[in-house]
């Protein structure tokens, strides 16, 4: 899955695979989604609902994190 097409119907596992950066959002929002056994079944919308997170703000943070990867895979100038 492309990080640009993340939506409320994406599962947590799909979202983390497409954009590992969103793990930071899930952790900072104090969810237990990263490493959760249910990650391949629960959608991002399920997660927001389970933890009582306002959907718009949560998804906006997810998309921002996904579009600003901070991967440590080189110096980026090559």
């Amino acid at each position: 899955m492309n990080a640009q097409v993340l939506s409320g119907d994406s599962t947590v596992a799909q979202a983390l695979e497409a954009a590992p950066e969103i793990g930071r959002v899930l952790i900072s929002r104090r969810t237990a989604c990263v490493g959760c056994y249910m990650a391949r079944f629960c959608t991002l919308r399920d997660s927001a609902s389970a933890y009582g997170l306002a959907w718009d703000g949560f998804m906006s943070e997810i998309k921002t994190a996904a579009s600003n990867p901070k991967r440590n895979d080189g110096d980026g100038n090559a």
Binding site: Y37, M38, A39, F41, C42, D46
Partner: protein, 229 residues
């Protein structure tokens, strides 16, 4: 000793005692003052006195040989504690009594109290009322400890298996799993697995069928397994 009889009668065991009996108890007893963090008695000491807390706050703690400590109860004024010696003449205290703040307690000689109990059925009945209350409290705490831990184990097993082999269906997550398998995986009995699954079904967390479990509210199971608030 300046303890009004009306206060002494707040002690459950003495609620029906006569003034004469209470005066006898006061004459036979001594007031002990203990500073914060010091002890009225230690676990394993001969239970030579029963105590009535008259001021302050204390706790009863029990420790095992490995040094692990369990807080059994917190004591407030006009509660009787350490009364085991009044029933068993050679008994030792099963726990230590430690003052949480500077505290005072009336120390009643166990032998004296035992002689009173023998001749006063009402006093014995009131002591039994206190003891049966403690037993009931301990039984419900034991129940919580035993069931909560096993529920967590069963829950983790269900989640682990779901992650490995479950399928998403319309209204939940379905996995093929017999109760016998679940009991074996989670190290408990078939009876306990059935009881826990029945409770989850009643709460709408799962739906169970023949050799299958459908998880309806996965996050609730995660909460149980992980001890989340």
């Amino acid at each position: 000793m300046q303890i009004p009889l009306a206060n002494l009668r707040k002690v459950v065991v003495f609620q029906n005692a006569t003034d004469e009996d209470l005066n006898q108890i006061l004459r036979a007893s001594a007031l002990r003052q203990v500073e914060e963090e010091e002890y009225f008695f230690l676990q394993g000491d001969r239970a030579e006195h029963a105590y009535v807390l008259t001021e302050g706050q204390a706790k009863l703690v029990q420790s095992n040989p490995q040094g692990q400590v369990v807080n059994l109860r917190t004591l407030h004024p006009w509660q009787l504690f350490g009364a085991l010696g009044a029933v068993r003449s050679q008994g030792t205290y099963p726990a230590s009594a430690q003052a949480l703040v500077d505290s005072s307690a009336l120390a009643i000689p166990s032998d004296f109290l035992r002689e009173m109990l023998v001749n006063r059925p009402q006093l014995s009945m009131d002591l039994m009322q206190l003891m049966t209350g403690y037993i009931q409290e301990m039984q419900s705490r034991y129940m919580e400890l035993a069931t909560e831990r096993v529920e967590q184990r069963i829950c983790r097993a269900v989640l682990r298996l779901a992650a490995q082999s479950a399928e998403k269906v319309d209204d939940g997550i379905e996995l093929m799993l017999s109760r016998e398998d679940l009991a074996e995986i989670s190290g408990t009995t078939l009876y306990t697995v059935s009881r826990v699954l029945a409770d989850w079904q009643r709460r709408g967390l799962v739906e169970t069928g023949r050799e299958r479990v459908k998880v309806l509210r996965p996050h609730e199971l995660v909460r149980i397994a992980e001890g989340l608030p």
